[in-house]
């Protein structure tokens, strides 16, 4: 077990090195000049001389492997470099953005699970009943609605019509409410369907039939056996969603003024701020792979038959 975990961690490190090299190469090849973006960020054209001087100052004229090597050496020593956009250190920017996004993502995840687990269970147990149709319809709608539309509709309903929240919210619990709802709606839709499918699969297993024949109560079978056996699958779903949540909440963050990492990275992509983008890729890669490893380990804890 321990050897397997160590092997997975080594694989993770190698994966991150390959990932960083690929990302660095892609950005090197991609059109767009960080110096030009910086100097003309307000639409003012600059002369070739000024542009070239800025490129030299930013180190953009050095060979690819020198730049990559320096960046990698810095990362190994915990230095994420300096932002091309404003000369500010990258690490504090990423930490601040990541912290806010983690708050938003985990809150949304927990809220989604609290709603979707009962919905999925009920829809599975009451298969083809009215409640199942309603859950499936809502799931279909929730999955289809784009994030920005949900966000603006929620803002209009809660802030203008009901006057419950301000449009301009601060970074506190009150300000967290609408972004969490917006992020959770598609997740609830997805989770409830997946949980329903998994529970239905478990319900069709022989051991459920056996338990029923032995006269075990349906409620007990559902909660003690069926749901417990579904947890491993639910963890996998969560693990996959966390990556999506961490990187994919940019629209929500922008609309609700939530200073998360998604918004930071979108701004950085527009500005060709490569040090920030590279730092983001490394952090997200680590989180994504780390969570998948953690999910596998949790599955192993729940069900010792599972191989890590």
């Amino acid at each position: 077990m321990n050897n397997k975990v160590i092997k997975r961690i080594i694989e993770l490190i190698l994966l991150l090195v390959v990932l960083s090299l690929l990302t660095f190469a892609l950005m090197y090849l991609a059109p767009g000049d960080p110096a030009e973006k910086r100097l003309s960020s307000q639409g003012v054209a600059v002369t070739k001389e000024v542009l070239n001087a800025e490129r030299a100052r930013m180190g953009l004229l050095r060979p690819f492997f020198v730049r990559y090597g320096e960046w990698l050496w810095g990362i190994i020593h915990g230095d994420f470099g300096i932002s091309f956009k404003d000369d500010m250190p990258v690490a504090p920017k990423l930490i601040k953005g990541l912290k806010n996004t983690v708050v938003l993502a985990l809150s949304s995840l927990m809220f989604s699970l609290i709603i979707s687990i009962p919905l999925g269970l009920v829809a599975a147990v009451k298969k083809n009943a009215l409640i199942d149709h309603v859950v499936r319809l809502l799931s279909f709608i929730g999955n289809s609605l784009p994030n920005f539309l949900v966000s603006v509709l929620l803002m209009y309903f809660f802030c203008i019509k009901l006057n419950m929240f301000p449009i301009i919210a601060e970074g506190n619990l009150q300000g967290l409410f609408l972004p969490v709802i917006s992020l959770s709606i598609p997740m609830i839709a997805r989770f409830s369907r997946m949980i329903r499918t998994e529970v239905l699969t478990q319900l069709s297993e022989d051991y459920v039939t056996g338990l029923r024949l032995r006269g075990v109560k349906e409620k007990y079978i559902l909660l003690k056996n069926v749901f417990y056996n579904s947890i491993g699958h639910i963890f996998t779903i969560i693990a996959l969603q966390i990556g999506v949540l961490m990187g994919g909440s940019v629209v929500i963050e922008t609309i609700f003024r939530w200073p998360g990492i998604g918004k930071l990275v979108m701004d950085s992509i527009n500005a060709r701020d490569y040090p920030v983008i590279m730092g983001f890729v490394i952090i997200m890669g680590t989180i994504y792979v780390g969570i998948n490893l953690l999910s596998d380990l949790l599955n192993k804890v729940i069900d010792p038959r599972v191989e890590v």
Binding site: G43, A45, R57, M88, K96, V102, M155, I167, I168, R257
Partner: protein
């Protein structure tokens, strides 16, 4: 099940801890970045007291507005941060630009040129928010600092400066006349800071403006309060809050809910909403300085085709399609400027067809003009920003209607692709045409020999001669006259097409005024006369 319960409880506890930590830290960061300035203590109290009130902006004298951009620093001289310290009413330059793009006195009375020497006279009563008087030495140090830390103004590092007395600065520009010094000094990057007493340039620069910073969240919201020591007299507002809001819809909703009093860069969709309720919202729109234009490639298109293109492109129709966000350009500069008096031929598709036919083009079976069996097929290059994607499609349709076929090429980065290698027949571009009330920058960027955007074969000796004159002429009336002649040559040569100027559109609640709503430049906002 017990295991699951434990895990679930752990996860919930972790989430709660993260939420609490995140929220707690947000508040902490905010307070950390709050500027503790002795001079501003009273003003801070005014602003913070107002925060205790309802979020709606009625009932106090604090202006609340939305800003589409936010920067990590308030250092006036770095990057474009001075644009925002100017908008926030913190910093002022020696001159400022008025509605007609003319540099008028602000901290300085005047600037007079005598060949390579400029003499700038400061106003007598100017002082910083800490009460320190503005001196000529301090202005010189400021100019030198801008030259040192802002690459766009490094030429100022080559000049020599003297301060014969406390209120006079003599600038010697070396061997070459530098006629745009006065208008350059109106750039917000030349906002004056008290370099002696400022200890935190990024968070709390001491400037001369009508407002002082009370809270600054890097790349976030900004709060300012009235400068009680303002040299220019009474300041109408008690303070202002600039909320960082990038998206259009939340701005519209915040305006409707009464959480903000005004903002600019209004989207066309929001504009429609505001126009329906004129008693609730006052909308002011003036031509800005951000120009949409196209370059016609003289190396790949003959004169008749270029002329036909310019006679076909209907700028009014394009502006109408863009629903109030742009005004059809009558020149590359706002029409109020003295250097925008040029004549652009009106749309005349019949004349366009006639020109092509005179040049030997005939309509083929597909309704496209061709010559020597080669149908016209223009490569329209563009990038998907500043509505240029819409422009490309509309222009393609308009050209097709007269028999000029085209295809679209979209690039991510025009400067390193079609501008760099002139690989286009018609290239769309958008840039600020007037950065500080003078035409030389745009002419130098697009029409001069070897200019960055003169990549498509435009060359005219008379034009170049006049550009050389423009580089040394110091009289503003003569400069405008020269600029008009230069631009007219480019128009007559069908080297360019000036399509639209983005409007500087401001929406305000009744009672709000003085939010730079009539100024075409993007870098002005609140000042001493702003009212709520």
């Amino acid at each position: 099940m017990r295991k699951f319960n434990k895990l679930f409880a752990l996860a919930m506890a972790t989430t709660m801890a993260f939420s609490a930590a995140g929220c707690g830290n947000s508040a902490k960061e905010s307070s950390e970045s709050t500027v503790e300035s002795n001079e501003a203590t009273e003003q801070e109290e005014v602003v913070e007291a107002s925060d205790e009130e309802e979020k709606t902006s009625d009932g106090d004298n604090i202006l609340r507005t939305a800003a589409s951009f936010a920067y990590p620093s308030l250092d006036v001289h770095k990057e474009y941060y001075g644009w925002y310290t100017s908008i926030y009413g913190l910093s002022e330059a020696l001159f400022k630009l008025d509605e007609t793009s003319t540099a008028v006195p602000c901290l300085a009375k005047d600037a007079v040129s005598d060949g390579t020497t400029w003499t700038i006279t400061l106003k007598d009563n100017v002082k910083f928010s800490n009460g320190e008087p503005l001196t000529a030495e301090m202005v010189i140090k400021n100019i030198q600092r801008v030259a040192e830390i802002n690459g766009r103004f490094d030429i100022f590092g080559t000049f020599s400066y003297e301060a014969p007395d406390d209120k006079t600065i003599v600038v010697n520009t070396g061997d070459e006349v530098y006629p745009t010094l006065k208008s350059d000094l109106a750039s917000p990057e030349f906002g004056i800071i008290d370099l002696e007493n400022t200890t935190d340039f990024d968070n709390d620069p001491i400037c001369t403006g009508p407002f002082v910073i009370t809270e600054f969240v890097p790349e976030g919201d900004v709060k300012v309060a009235k400068n009680e020591n303002y040299w220019g007299g009474d300041v109408n507002l008690d303070g202002a809050v600039f909320y960082y809001m990038q998206e259009d819809d939340p701005k519209l909703l915040a305006m409707q809910s009464g959480e903000i009093d005004c903002y600019n860069s209004v989207s066309s969709a929001a504009l429609e909403v505001y126009k329906q309720e004129p008693d609730k919202y006052n909308v002011v729109s003036v031509e800005g300085t951000r120009l949409q234009f196209y370059i016609l490639n003289e190396n790949t298109m003959d004169g008749a085709v270029r002329a036909a293109v310019n006679l076909t492109i209907d700028k009014e129709a394009i502006a109408s399609y863009l629903e109030g966000t742009v005004t059809a350009a009558t020149a590359p500069f706002p029409s109020s400027a003295a250097y925008s008096k040029v004549s652009i031929p009106a749309v005349d598709t019949e004349k366009a067809k006639a020109l092509l036919e005179e040049d030997g083009y005939t309509l083929n079976a597909d309704g496209i003009y061709e010559k020597d069996g080669q149908p016209i097929k223009l490569n329209i290059a563009y990038y998907a920003a500043r509505s240029l994607d819409t422009l490309a499609i509309l222009m393609q349709e308009q050209l097709k209607a007269v028999g000029i076929d085209s295809y679209l090429t979209v690039e991510e980065d025009p400067d390193s692709t079609y501008i760099a290698n002139a690989d286009f027949d018609l290239a769309l571009y958008c840039m600020i045409s007037d950065k500080c009330g003078d035409p030389l920058y745009f002419i130098d960027s697009t029409l001069a020999d070897g200019a960055y955007y003169n990549v498509a074969g435009f060359k005219n000796d008379e034009c170049q001669k006049m550009i050389e004159e423009l580089r040394i002429e110091t009289d503003s009336a003569k400069r405008a006259e020269l600029a008009n002649k230069i631009i007219q040559i480019a128009i007559d040569d069908n080297a360019f097409g000036y399509v639209g100027l983005f409007n500087h559109t401001t929406v305000m609640k009744p009672g709000v005024s003085g939010f730079a709503e009539n100024i075409p430049f993007d870098f002005y906002g609140i000042d001493a006369n702003t009212t709520k």
